[in-house]
Symmetry: C2
Subunit: 900 residues, 2 copies
Amino acid sequence: MSKYVYFFGSGKADGQANMKNLLGGKGANLAEMTNLGIPVPAGFTISTEVCTAYYDNDSQYPETLASQVSEAIAQVESVMGTKFGDHDNPLLLSVRSGARASMPGMMDTILNLGLNDTTVQGLIAQSNNERFAYDSYRRFVQMYGDVVLGLKPESQDEHDPFEVLLDAKKQARGVENDTDLTAEDLKELVQEFKAEIKKKTGHDFPEDPQEQLWGAVGAVFSSWNNDRAIVYRKLNDIPYEWGTAVNVQSMVFGNMGDDCATGVAFTRDPSTGEKEFYGEYLKNAQGEDVVAGTRTPQPISQLKEEMPEVYAQLGDIYIKLENHYKDMQDVEFTLQRDRLWMLQTRTGKRTGFAAFRIAVDMVEEGLITEDEAIRRVEPDQLNQLLRPIFDANEKRAAQEDGRVLATGLNAGPGAAAGKVVFNADDAETWAKRGDHVILVRVETSPEDIRGMSAADGILTARGGMTSHAALVARQMGKICVAGCGALHIDYVKREMVVSGKTVKEGDYISIDGTTGEVIEGAIPTIPSEVLQVLLQGSLAPEDSELYHCYDRMMTWADKYRSLKIRTNADQPDQSATARAFGAEGIGLCRTEHMFFEEDRIESVREMILSDDEAGRRAALAKLLPMQREDFRGIFEVMDGFPVTIRTLDPPLHEFLPHEDDAIVELAGVMNVAPDALRQKVEDLKESNPMLGHRGCRLGIVFPEITEMQARAIFEAATECQKKGIKALPEIMIPLVGHVNELKAQEQIVRSVAEAVKGETGITIEYDLGTMIELPRAALTADEIAEVAEFFSFGTNDLTQTTFGLSRDDAKFLPDYLSQEIWPEDPFVSIDRSGVGELVKIGVEKGRTTRKNLKVGICGEHGGDPDSVEFCHQIGLNYVSCSPYRVPIARLAAARAALAE
Amino acid sequence: MSKYVYFFGSGKADGQANMKNLLGGKGANLAEMTNLGIPVPAGFTISTEVCTAYYDNDSQYPETLASQVSEAIAQVESVMGTKFGDHDNPLLLSVRSGARASMPGMMDTILNLGLNDTTVQGLIAQSNNERFAYDSYRRFVQMYGDVVLGLKPESQDEHDPFEVLLDAKKQARGVENDTDLTAEDLKELVQEFKAEIKKKTGHDFPEDPQEQLWGAVGAVFSSWNNDRAIVYRKLNDIPYEWGTAVNVQSMVFGNMGDDCATGVAFTRDPSTGEKEFYGEYLKNAQGEDVVAGTRTPQPISQLKEEMPEVYAQLGDIYIKLENHYKDMQDVEFTLQRDRLWMLQTRTGKRTGFAAFRIAVDMVEEGLITEDEAIRRVEPDQLNQLLRPIFDANEKRAAQEDGRVLATGLNAGPGAAAGKVVFNADDAETWAKRGDHVILVRVETSPEDIRGMSAADGILTARGGMTSHAALVARQMGKICVAGCGALHIDYVKREMVVSGKTVKEGDYISIDGTTGEVIEGAIPTIPSEVLQVLLQGSLAPEDSELYHCYDRMMTWADKYRSLKIRTNADQPDQSATARAFGAEGIGLCRTEHMFFEEDRIESVREMILSDDEAGRRAALAKLLPMQREDFRGIFEVMDGFPVTIRTLDPPLHEFLPHEDDAIVELAGVMNVAPDALRQKVEDLKESNPMLGHRGCRLGIVFPEITEMQARAIFEAATECQKKGIKALPEIMIPLVGHVNELKAQEQIVRSVAEAVKGETGITIEYDLGTMIELPRAALTADEIAEVAEFFSFGTNDLTQTTFGLSRDDAKFLPDYLSQEIWPEDPFVSIDRSGVGELVKIGVEKGRTTRKNLKVGICGEHGGDPDSVEFCHQIGLNYVSCSPYRVPIARLAAARAALAE
């Protein structure tokens, strides 16, 4: 018989931490904590296999599940000394989801399960608190009604029917807060809630605890596939197939009175990574109250004063957990009548800042090793360390001008300025049309995920450091100020009043997620500390903690990685930036970018409009000195590092105007008849320019272009050599599909090299290679490697041709992603089974012919950590990415090496 | 020591027929004839290896070549009893090219080599004919000057300097023909020619026979790479690497007097294939006079009367040759003073008509077997049997109206009508702009090849059945009337006068290559005899010799082939044609063709313009009955054969107008605002529509389209089934790149199938599969085959994506072909190493998952014999091609099977 149910309680558990796939993160950790001797209310976990089976079999459970659950309940009853459905001492349960990866707030939870008109009497007796008991009952009926029976409104505009009744009751009683309602009020509300359920669903509220339990379990499994969960999985690359587990656990109550509390805390600061207990609690409250952000809780430091013994006990548990898990933990606890229960521990989500800091600190504390530190951070989190911060002078000016409107919690570090919007849909729409937006909400909820993802920053009026807004923002790496109580938000008027000022939708505000300040207007930003050290030299390395983390991590990464990291750069300043970030050469220098510059475009056009080779050569002669200068500048910066220069790639019509006005104007400038120019533009038009006359096809029809470019390269290299600068050009022929194309271009390049050598007496070491960006090139790489000394995979174009998909036209991409046709956008992360397979074929075939073939990648995938991993796995020599992605790629390369 | 030189003469030879690669066709056959005891003037062949070495080593010969040549000359001298350079009895030589494949007239030839002022005296003494000797000397100097010393004019507009001198001499002497010049005149001409050479080149004409020989050998090797030869190789797919051999052979003279003659003949009629000696001769002439077409020769039948013994001897040789070579032979002979010498035998070029007839006849004569017959014909030659002929009534009317202008030789069978042009360049230009043209020349020469290839038909005033025009036309499968002496062509006025009528450039004429008639105006054509039998039933099979050949060959082909042949057809009438040609099903039925029909396009547009699914469904509902009717018609014709139906493929904007006038008009018809329509057109615009929203991407975003099409298919199939017609639909989803796309579409199709079954109670057998037309599909074919029950390779699109090459934009294709970057147009013949490799990968991976996967091809390559061979080799189940290519594909499939 398969085991579906895993018990935990009283110091021993069926499961353990390494069973996350089966028990979900929460379940595995509850088991682990139990085994560690940490006080955990007894319970059991229904495994993720049941979820999968449930979805595969038309929402049917495995046959033996019911009996396994009964048995587990009996064990819980025995440990807790209570009985499920008992009149006198009822066992009450929480039912929660728990997937392999944390999906905070995405799926539904039921608390206080087991209450009915009979057992509530038992709870009254046990707690000696009628009001508490009816409040618990009221909450249970409401949650059950919302979640299991489907009364929860689907959109934000509708009202929760239970909240309506609650508000009516408060109005009738003339009170403002829930807490002002009496036991009798709450008792009435329970009946009103039940009547509402009967009215809406046609069925009575289930009084039978067993029926309640199975309803709740089914609801949790169903919630795996609700819209929010689907969106969340997509955003976080969580596969549908994983499924969720269900954790059923005895209730403990933080809301039985003032000797009760509930809290959420981190063993270190999840925003900054500082090593200090960090968290919040609410007295006389249930856990959901803290997370939902409906009441702003107390900082954990307060607990030390209020309940020093509990605080000390918590401190011991934290240390035990960190030493055990060797990572920062995110825990939930409840204090029931001075007795501490741990409800959850899990690896804490953190910002990029915190991830780096914690990893570096833990190495320095001896808790983890360098390579573990590398594994501990996501390369993309590095972005946060490079993200702009507010210009200190500008911010000081704003402070002095009294433009600081309020200060909230620094929930997501970094600086953001943008236009205020008050709902998630607007955030999405405005961002899509190019606006920077700050999403301002009283509090956020899972429905807001898309809007949060679209916004530059998030600002909430309610909720603490562990509120939904704060958690999600940290995870997304969003800048966030949470719980800023000074905001008075009016959704209807689309404005907020703060410090007597009115900020309307569309007005600019700035938020500092590092300090929590909310500032009127848009404050200009300056580079991050890391950039101030690396690029500007305006900050000393030793003055920046952030730089220290960056530097340590990069040093360790370089120790472990075997992939070289190059950069895509066309200009000396870009090249210098990339060098500062540790680039070991240029993997792609696009020469056409130089052609577009104002002083050149005219000669380029003259060349295009020439009717014969002589005319083209005359125009190219004008371009030659400028191109040479371009290359000289780059060689100087890259002294001693290779520079891969791609010959002209885009179709020529890109250099001509297409609107008639512009054509007429240009004709005047070029001194040609407008009709002649119009005809030329028409002649160059292509139905599919992506598949047209571009790449090496230009150099084959117009060999003089390649000739000029080769000359510029060799002359520039020669000039450098004369000055003692080591230029290492790698000349790359684009869009080769047949070895003969490369042969034809090779002949030109090699003869120019010989000619320049003859003229100057200086020999330039260089390699000649090609971009592999067409399926045919990969498939015939063995032939191409007979000529090519290196390959550089152009995975942008290779993705376009392999998928038959124009990047500019993929209007159906959203449909494809939402229908899960493609697991992800293939232009973002390399498609391993299609495009990746071609890359593998290309590498293998190429190295069959030329054992030491140098192979790299220069598409945008070069800066995507997952793609970098793939490049490492298939044995590339280097990846090349944009300058700002270089450190990310270094880290990704190290992680890939360590993952082997 | 490598052997470079192969002697033949006096009944024994170093080489033999199977050494064509080394000795070229001519050399191998001279050796073979020698070995067969046929009288051949002694000589030797310098092998093709020398040519290759010559080009690889900067025009240097292998070291030992000179000594081997000397030795061979000594052998020739000994056999012929003459001496090279001897004053009294000089050995004179011909020097000719001879490649592995025949390239008539493409490379240069030198005759009478060895003559100089001294040896000419020996020739006078030996021939006792001073005029002959000086004429030979004059010809030699002229040829040598033209070919070896480069005095030949490069374009047709310039004059040959020797011809100018010759004309001047004739004028000075007041005579019209060369033959009217005296020995003294010719002797003077020799000196004038030599002076011209000295003037033009600065060097004296070489008197030394050794120097003459090496100059000629070098010229032949160089001619391998002249422009004509390059064009010819390209047209005929002859690799550059093959190189040419050089044949050096003792001269025999057909021009020593009236007891001399020279001739060219075929053992069967090369135009019609009829079994009769066929050829021409000229008395007192050199061989070049016959081939060049400068004098119209006598038919060979005349020889029987003039020289019955020689004719009989020739007859014996012909039979010996046909029995030996088992194929129709093309021979050259010379009669020197009543002694017959065979100068060449080779497999004769023939028209498609003749190829089929000869192959079928030879099987029936017991000379060859059926499978040899299949190997003997090129599948593309079958086109000629299907080519239109003149409408007999229209032609009779033309004859009665006196519009038959003249009758020439029926050199290339078939009927052509077109505009008259008088030079090859015009033929190319006019044809490019879409005109049908008849190229009219006094005679053609190798420079005219491109023009001949572009023209619909060729008409010459001079030259016989073996003239350049006739030979090349036969080989190209062009319609040709040659040697039509009644034409008086004036190149300058661009007109010809014939039978008192003037035909100007651009006037229409018609030529009947089967009868030789030249007719004024454009005569309408009717289907060929084969089509009259197969499609029209207007001719009884037994009344057509041509049909007999077709039928025999098809019957034999079907016996040997294993590939099935299907057709691409969208309509019942096309389907019927394909069935008549033997198609075994439809491999591609493009449903969008149906959408363009007038009564449907409006509903299609309504669907596109709908803003929501309901609107689209309403429009689709109107299309459903029409689509169902389309499919019903096709199923009826294909009763019992599979019909592969592709769901909608082209991007939707193809169904909308793009010009503003048309948009406004349509907006009126559709009753929508022009701006709204304009916006829709704009929204649908794509930068690369080939890579845009098309194929299954439509059905995924608009599932209702697939649903309608599936319903139309199943309902049509059900209707057929009710009537006892067996419908076998194969539903094909286009442009799948990821298995999830196919899964999504499969779900729709299968549920419609179930629905229709539920409604009608009738089960339709069907398969669901996909087109593999994207590299990613081929690379992930193992995944796709989990869903697909069949694959059909769409090699058109697969070629576009594999090469990154838009068929509509390949303006650089001519450059690529002329620079030999690509061996041939990849859209015509499948690119085996790139596209073909993907097809192989796709087949292998697909069959790994699904062993019995049905695999076919439905790109245009399906009708290309070379591609068909490839498809056979890699184990496809079928190819699908346009109806008229079906018999060609059947034959190609048989040849592929036999080639194994």
